[in-house]
């Protein structure tokens, strides 16, 4: 333990060590391996033919094909947005594959023997519990086996296709529909037709429109009136194929009085070339319903020189259509070379509530431009935003958000807190909030701070006998705590360790 009069100097050393640890973590992306598996691809490039081909591969009805084509035509008119504080080489949309699936998935496997062992191995390596893994790989009948501990139903998406969904039978008994969206388009066309594109219209923005044209799979959730979903639902996205974009689409509908908690995880192999990921998530929440949506985004962030990584351009939006409906977005963003993501809430129903909790960690050359939109339309609507950005290395981390109180959103309330922590003098932290208040009975409060790891706090901890490394860990953990606490149990542990990996290094 250093002498007290040395504290200041030690504090500086301490931070430097943390920075060094962070820098050294660059090569330690845990999920950077690749599954060698025979794939089938659609031809490279994007055209109406490719859109039709994706639609045909998914055996979609005519209306769906037309819907996609309308989006594609619209997309051709749009320009890529450039307002975000991210900088990346121009993307050649014709040099991408828009559809890739393991050959073994051409027909759904009926038993363990039929499942491609490489897929099994992939999910095992990603740390999905064995029981679920068996089911994930498409084994029929495994649902009847008792699961250990709390149940989490998983939909596993591998490149362009869903390879399996667990606990479907048990969920069905509760009336919950949880399946790949490609399947839902065939089996529940009335629901898909009614809600798809109703929150994020086909023409919403450049990436969402692209997604509308070429999305290949994703998850579909419908929770009927009054049902509390008996387990957490989750989708695990894995990009594996090279030069292939992943375009998944998720649609969640919580009918009146329903409740569901949904988790999303994602990883990708290490590659030198950047890969595109443009997802759309739509959530519809009716009267008295509640949806919790949690993400741990851990796409490959690129190496320490900024080479490779995923470009993550995501449109996520929840429509609180019903009175007293509630949505909670929680995100831990640690991966991706470039993140462009604004999970939003349209608070349409009276007394509806939206919450957004976010930790965004950028290191090396990562760039994140992320935040939320809270659009208050109904009376007595409430929203809360807590955003924690941590920037290290040469990274740029931007919070961008909108809080809008419409004239009719009487007696509404918003509280926003955005804090940024900088580690090192080469990185940047930015805050770009838009606040639009168009009535006076609503209250809007916005606070933002930017600082480095506080020497005084470190000193305080160390004066009480906490060693240097643990002190930094404590300060950083404290900084993120409000968001970590908002995560469901299943993810909290993972997120905590991710934060540790990203920033605390050997601490703890």
């Amino acid at each position: 333990m250093a002498a007290l009069d040395n504290a200041d100097h030690e504090g500086v050393t301490e931070i430097r060590e943390t920075v060094e640890t962070v820098q050294s973590m660059a090569g330690k992306y845990k999920y950077g391996w690749e599954t060698e598996i025979e794939m089938e691809y659609a031809p490279m490039g994007l055209s109406e033919e490719i859109v039709r081909l994706i639609s045909a591969k998914n055996e979609e009805p005519e209306w769906m094909t037309e819907w996609r084509l309308a989006a594609f035509r619209r997309w051709q008119q749009l320009e890529e947005p450039d307002w975000a504080m991210v900088d990346y080489p121009e993307i050649d949309f014709q040099k991408q594959y828009y559809y890739a699936r393991p050959k073994s998935m051409a027909e759904k496997p009926k038993s363990l023997d039929e499942v491609d062992p490489k897929l099994l191995e992939t999910y095992k390596k990603l740390g999905i519990p064995l029981k679920e893994q068996m089911i994930l790989a498409g084994v029929e009948g495994a649902e009847d086996a008792p699961a250990e501990g709390r149940k989490v139903a998983v939909d596993a998406v591998f490149d362009s296709v869903s390879v399996g969904t667990t606990f479907q039978k048990e969920l069905e008994q509760a009336g919950v529909i949880f399946c790949p969206i490609s399947e839902a388009i065939r089996t529940h066309p009335e629901l898909v037709k009614k809600y798809l594109g109703s929150v994020v219209p086909q023409s919403d923005n450049f990436y969402a429109t692209l997604n509308s044209a070429v999305f290949s799979d994703g998850s579909f959730v419908y929770v009927p009136p009054g049902v509390r979903c008996p387990m957490e639902l989750s989708t695990y996205f894995r990009i594996n194929a090279e030069n292939t974009g992943q375009f998944e689409r998720t649609l969640i509908i919580a009918d009146k009085g329903a409740y569901v908690s949904y988790l999303e995880g994602c990883t990708a192999p290490k590659r030198d070339t950047a890969q595109l990921h443009a997802a759309v998530v739509e959530i519809v929440v009716l009267d008295d319903a509640e949806v919790k949506y949690s993400t741990v985004q851990n796409w490959y962030p690129g190496d320490e020189h900024g080479k490779g990584g995923i470009y993550n351009f995501v449109t996520k939006r929840a429509d609180c259509r019903g009175a007293r409906s509630k949505v909670m977005w929680t995100q831990v963003e640690t991966g991706s070379a470039v993140t462009w993501k604004y999970p939003s809430c349209i608070l349409r129903g009276d007394d509806s509530q939206g919450e957004f909790y976010s930790i965004a960690i950028t290191n090396n050359w990562q760039q994140a431009d992320t935040g939320t939109k809270m659009v208050h339309l109904g009376k007595n609507t409430r929203s809360r935003i807590v955003s924690k950005g941590i920037s290290a290395g040469h990274a740029q981390n931007t919070y961008r958000g909108l809080v809008s109180m419409h004239p009719k959103a009487k007696n509404s309330r918003n509280y926003t807190q955005c804090d940024s922590l900088l580690i090192g003098d080469k990185c940047g932290a930015h805050t770009v909030p838009y606040i639009e208040v168009r009535n006076n009975s609503s209250r809007v409060e916005h606070e933002a701070t930017t600082s480095k790891v506080d020497d005084d706090q470190l000193f305080y901890c160390r004066a009480r006998g906490i060693d240097e490394e643990a002190a930094v860990a404590l300060v950083v953990n404290g900084f993120c705590k409000e968001v970590l606490q908002a995560l469901p149990m299943e993810f909290a542990m993972e997120a905590q360790s991710l934060v540790a990996i990203s920033l605390e290094g050997s601490v703890g």
Partner: protein
Amino acid sequence: MGLPQAKLTATEARLAALAMPEAPGWTRLGRLGARARLEAMGLPGRRDEYWRFTNPADLVTPAPVPAAVFEPSENPVFHAMDRLRLVFVDGVFDAAASDDPALAGVEITRLAEAQALDIHWAAELYGTLEARGQEPVERPMAALNTAFATDGVLIRATGRAEKPVNLIYLHKSDTSDAILHHVIRIEPGADLTVLENGPAAARFNKVMEVDIADGGAFHHVRVQGRDHERRAVTHVFARLGQESTFKSFTMTANGALTRNECVIELTGDEGVAHVAGACLGDGSDFHHDDTIFITHDAERCESRQVFKKVLKNGATGVFQGKILVQPGAQKTDGYQISQSLLLDEDSQFLAKPELEIYADDVACSHGSTSGAIDERALFYLRSRGVPRAEAVDLMVLSFIAEAVEEIESDVIRDEIVERLAQWLARHRR
């Protein structure tokens, strides 16, 4: 890259209605440069991000929207103070109405006269700070001003000015369209206070470039509006040297449209820049916009932005504030607060308080709030016998106080508080 057609057309139409002075003298290069900048960026339009909350249409038309001349019954602000008066009537300097510009420690010349000379100390500054302020955000209305300004003052402070310089802008013609450009240079260790007041013209475009050398101090207090229909766009561009001080306070009381931009660069260590504003708006034709951009490019500097808006009967208040901390600007202390008090259901507050930070050892924060008057506090005051209207005024004044306290001079501060109270008394409905 060409301009969009609509922008090009608007810019060409406006340019056709403007002319550079016949003998621009040493301002010629500055004016030509600004004109080229303006043509390259075009005049602002509704779709520009930087004009997201304020429609610039009335500021860019070839001819101004007429504004009735308004003669307030009370004495003009600062009238009781000992100050050097420089009067402009509809944007033209009025020597007869002004004081003798001789002032110890200060050198004052009129732009329209000085530019007839071949050389001038202001030559290296005219349009220079404005041009620097065009990055990273375009400010075409300021470029237009530099290119086509018809008058203004050039003030150089070499010591401690013995009294403030008061720029008084009178409005006599319903259709006047004034473009004034002032250049102020504070030499090392010098100290100057500039006061501004008056409605100026039906449409007013004003730029003030302030260059503060090491150890210099510049204080600026401005009162604008006063129940006037005029439309105004103003820019202050300030560059601060080491250990220098810049403090600016603006009170805006009505005026149909006001866009005040303040662009400050802290280029020397330990500079201090404070910008504050109090805005009172009554009526749906009131639109007020404070747009601030502060760049920290040196160590241990301090910046504060304090803006308070009181809005009623459908008034709109806008705040766009930014703190940019450049790499290496360590130990920066940046603070920004923007708050609005909405006194009725129809008024609105639109804000974009931004931080952009590239240095790690900094303490930057911003806060923004909006809401109605606290009914419980009102109830408390009324239960102690204060009539409702007075209680509201009391609460409004206390809400604004943080901004007003940014004024250093007690005399000026007291006068501003009195003017605020008078306005509130006149606008109790």
